[in-house]
Amino acid sequence: MKRRDFLKITAITTAGSMIPISLKAAQKAHIVIIGGGFSGATCAKYLKLWGGRSIDVTIIEKNPLYTSPILSNLVLNNIKNINSLKFSYTGLINYGIKILNTTAINFDTDKRVIYTENGKKIRYDKLVLAPGIDFKFPNKYDINKIPHAWIAGKQTLILKKQIDSLRDGDTFIMSIPKKPYRCPPGPYERACVVADYLRKKRVKVNVVVMDENQDIIVEKKAFGSKFKEYGIDYRPSCKIINVDDNKMEVTYSQFGYMESIKGNVINIIPNQKAAKPIFLAGVNDGDFAPVDTKSYESLIKKDIYIIGDSHKSSQPKAGHIGNGEGKICADAILRNLNGYPVFDNPKTNSACYSPVSDNEATWLTAIYRYDPTTKDMKIIKGYPKSGMPSKKNFVDMFYWAGNLFSDTFS
């Protein structure tokens, strides 16, 4: 009964807003997901596994293949080939999900329409935004010369090539963004992987890490001891002011002083904000999109859901938990469409394996439960949250990633 009412309402609002829709389209709710990364792809898959033929699910994704940022630091030290981190959407298509290989360039959230780069207008009943991150560059500079390599793919390969060009006496500079940013341990992991790689290649490079945070923000014991072992020059509280791709120079402020430093290879990982669709759809509050984590529905606009790195909550911006958010969101949408109350006690968990050399890794985990008073997730306490580097962890890392990749893309 309730489901019928919902359809009636959709039909009226859609007709009222003069969007031509076919009768067939009106029979099934259309859920459109922007972004086929860890959160978006998982949400689409579970929408189909649970909602089946009662719904139409479309992913709008700008890249024909997805490149996983997870494990991408291992491309830098030759452990992984970038092609082994690429995933096609064939697995999702097999579930009956439609993939549109184009960019979403605008939204009319009153009329429930998405405009795409290839000139299409796409109508939705429920919109899921899962577009990941964008950067807040300190100034304009050429990212082909000074890569971030924080969205994997081409950028990873540029950084890899530059690191391989380093010679004795050179300087490698890396910056760590202010939190919140994608993958809290990731930059510390990268510093360790690169320093270990250069050391094993017997190239004497000065590795400088400039962190905008006041201290190592996660796994301090593990990363701190590795930084010491590798002789990494770690500088806390460094705010990047200017990046000069011509002089290969970074200007930064630390404890109230301005300084400049030159590097042969510079890897600025800029501060972060949600990707463009969040701003185009008008669901941001500051840099990210606030949601009720019971459903991931926007606190600003109805029928828009935000999952993964671009939403705002106490959960880390990471792929493993992004996959979990996708499942909670899928179930909440299906309940809403079918007139059932949203499940009120969701839990999520996070797991990260961080390589710190070519044969050791650390791990980090956390479990969250829903807190109805804050509409946010709250960490459950009482267990060890991280572990020291070991060879066993390094092997486990691939078992973990393999299942995460398959649960998301196949």
Partner: protein, 120 residues
């Protein structure tokens, strides 16, 4: 240049001991806490608890295995999930109509399929 991309995940290929083909339903039946709690296991243990790597397939395990597991990340999950939820997870997984595979390698030949794509 053309590159070959594995359709599933060839580089992580490992033969699973279990097989389950989910049925795409005609309509939604509300998931209870059991299904949603189980879904939080799938990132590490594979969809429907069937692992595609050397990590364990929990579809073939039981409540006692959850509490016996000494892996540090599993220790943390013990704090995160209540006994009721853990029992629910296994009740749900055992209710699925899955098969145990004898000839593991034959079934998972699909991992050897590749697609050709333009290099970006």
């Amino acid at each position: 240049m053309k590159v070959l991309i594995p359709v599933l995940i060839a580089s992580f290929a490992f033969a699973s001991k279990y097989y389950y083909k989910p049925k795409i339903p005609d309509k939604y039946t509300p998931n209870n806490y059991r299904v949603l709690a189980a879904a939080t296991c799938f990132q590490c243990h594979g969809s429907f608890g069937i692992s595609k790597t050397k990590w364990d397939s929990i579809i073939g395990e039981d409540v006692k295995d959850f509490y016996k597991n000494r892996h540090p990340i599993m220790k943390a999950q013990r704090y995160g999930f209540t006994k009721k939820e853990v029992i629910g997870i296994f009740d749900y997984l055992h209710s699925l109509k899955y098969k145990k595979i004898k000839d593991k390698y034959k079934k998972y030949k699909e991992y050897e399929e590749y697609e050709e794509h333009d290099e970006d």
